[in-house]
């Protein structure tokens, strides 16, 4: 697995003050850590729990009862060598170690660390149908996994919420026309819509083009905000770390990238490829930098949202975990108070990140459609 060095650094930085004394800094692969420090198995569990909480999963875990996980099963959809295969995730019986084999369409699947592999024909020494290499990486082939995972389900919940908020709001306007003051849900969303239109779209894109991009910016802002807020909710239908998933933020960033560049005017491309007003050698020097810049801008968008939301979740979980790490109940008032504090900040961050995402998108679009006065 490839890692972004920047992100590793960021995560390390985040975790260091909290975990420095209690547990080793998490590494690429936690098996490695276990091998290095086997004596803090209990504490390592906390790390595991946190990582598990912020990662995607094939079922929507609610709580544990008598060592049994109570969760909502979600559909598993696999694009295999023999076509599409689907079954409910409950078929794995909460197994995540590759021991439970699901047979479907003559193919056998196991789930190991929330990934679905083709099962080996024989179980290994641990009883799991996975072959490992020396570094304990699974060697089995994987079908293309397009399951409705926890994050995908949360995505659908977010979209459902968007629709039941904004379609009735729109209906209000359709029904009452422009001569009636907004009421109910419309009066709640209208100030936000006007804010995004005037302070985000109009200011950054300019009078000529802003109306074309306002719908996208509005969708983006409300979508990210709602997804962030749902991520803060501890139980179903919240609790998924959707906006803290890099795949999700990547898609949004790519949308922004495409919209920005497809709407790039001549001036925009001129500034990237052949910067006006500077000597030719400098132009040659600037062009590659600017071309890389096309990608770094949305890349920063992607990382910013992902890192902010994930970091927040990690901090909250870490604070709560202090109780289990220190193995004393007396730390709980401090832990709970700090958690509440961080939670409040997260509510703010949830809004702020959505706003920043929309704002920067507007800024990039603004740069792309801007027509300069002649130099």
């Amino acid at each position: 697995m490839r890692t972004t060095p920047i992100f590793s650094f960021l995560l390390t930085l985040l975790m260091t003050p909290l975990f420095a004394h209690q547990m080793p800094i998490p590494h690429d692969d936690h098996e490695e850590v276990t091998a290095q420090v086997p004596e803090i198995e209990e504490k390592e569990d906390v790390n595991d729990v946190i990582m598990h909480h912020i990662s995607d999963a094939h079922d929507w875990h609610i709580f544990d009862w008598n060592n049994h996980a109570v969760s909502v099963p979600l559909p598993v959809i696999l694009y295999t060598e023999k076509g599409l295969v689907s079954f409910m995730s409950s078929a794995f019986h909460h197994d995540d170690s590759g021991k439970e084999v699901v047979e479907k369409n003559g193919q056998r699947f196991v789930k190991y660390h929330e990934k679905i592999y083709y099962a080996s024909s024989l179980a290994n020494a641990d009883g799991s149908y996975i072959d490992f290499d020396d570094e304990h990486h699974a060697l089995n082939a994987k079908p293309l996994d397009i399951s409705i995972t926890k994050n995908v389900a949360s995505l659908f919940v977010t979209i459902f919420l968007m629709l039941i908020i904004f379609l009735p709001a729109a209906n209000f306007y359709k029904k009452n026309g422009s001569q009636k003051a907004p009421k109910g849900i419309a009066s709640f969303v209208e100030p936000l819509i006007i804010y995004i239109r005037d302070e985000v779209a109009l200011v950054n894109i300019g009078k000529k083009h802003y109306l074309r991009f306002t719908p996208y910016l509005l969708s983006l802002f409300f979508f990210v905000w709602l997804a962030n807020m749902l991520g803060l909710m501890p139980v179903i239908p919240g609790g998924a770390n959707l906006t803290g998933n890099i795949g999700f933020t990547m898609v949004l960033a790519i949308f922004t990238l495409l919209i920005t560049n497809f709407n790039g005017k001549k001036d925009y491309w001129m500034h990237i490829l052949w910067m006006p007003g500077v000597p030719v050698p400098v132009r040659l020097l600037l062009a590659p930098i600017e071309i890389v810049g096309i990608l770094t801008k949305p890349f920063a968008l992607m990382v910013r949202l992902f890192a902010n939301m994930t970091a927040g979740h990690i901090v909250i979980l870490s604070l709560i975990s202090l109780i289990f790490v220190l193995e004393t109940i007396w730390v709980s008032p401090a832990a709970v108070l700090l958690t509440v504090f961080i939670f409040v900040i997260k509510v703010l961050v949830a809004f702020l990140q959505a706003y920043i995402f929309a704002l920067l998108t507007a800024l990039f679009i603004g740069q792309a459609v801007e027509e300069h006065a002649h130099h």
Binding site: I54, D145, Y173
Partner: protein, 162 residues
């Protein structure tokens, strides 16, 4: 690290779902909402503008009123002045006429008096003449006995009359 490895499934679903969401909301939510808000803003704008215009008109109307009032006042003043002048003139004229009339009356009175006086004089003269004749008769009756004396008397009388 799993965390920074984008999973295909989520990318796939997010692309489809978010794409559809944007299109759906654009058509059925943002367009009507933004249009209505725009319409309302325009109508508020127009209302404010027309109110401003009405206020302006009101102001000019007020100014007009003021002007008309001032004109009316001036006209009234002029009329009053005219009236006063006319009255004065009338009085003057009346006085003049009265004076002339009075003079005429006085003149005619004076003429009358003169006439009366003349008449009275004539009367008086006649009276005196009659008295004289009476006196003369009486004297004559007494003095007629003497012709000479008569003569003397007549002459004397005549002398007196002359």
């Amino acid at each position: 690290m799993d965390l920074v490895t984008p999973g295909f499934g989520l990318i796939f679903w997010t692309t489809i779902a978010f794409g559809i969401l944007v299109l759906l909301l654009k058509a059925f939510a943002w367009k009507p909402i933004l249009n209505t808000i725009k319409e309302r803003e325009d109508s508020i704008d127009n209302a404010l503008k027309s109110a401003e215009k009405a206020r302006e008109e009101m102001k000019s109307l007020q100014a007009d009123n003021e002007k008309i009032l001032a004109e009316a006042r001036a006209e009234r003043d002029a009329m009053m002045k005219e009236g006063r002048d006319l009255r004065d003139k009338t009085i003057e004229a009346a006085k003049e006429t009265a004076k002339i009339e009075a003079e005429k009356i006085i003149t005619s009175a004076r003429e009358q008096i003169e006439l009366q006086k003349k008449a009275a004089m004539t009367e008086l003269k006649n009276q005196v003449a009659a008295l004289s004749i009476d006196m003369a008769e009486k004297i004559l009756r007494r003095e007629l006995s003497d012709a000479k004396q008569q003569e003397a008397l007549i002459n004397e009388l005549l002398e007196d009359i002359k």
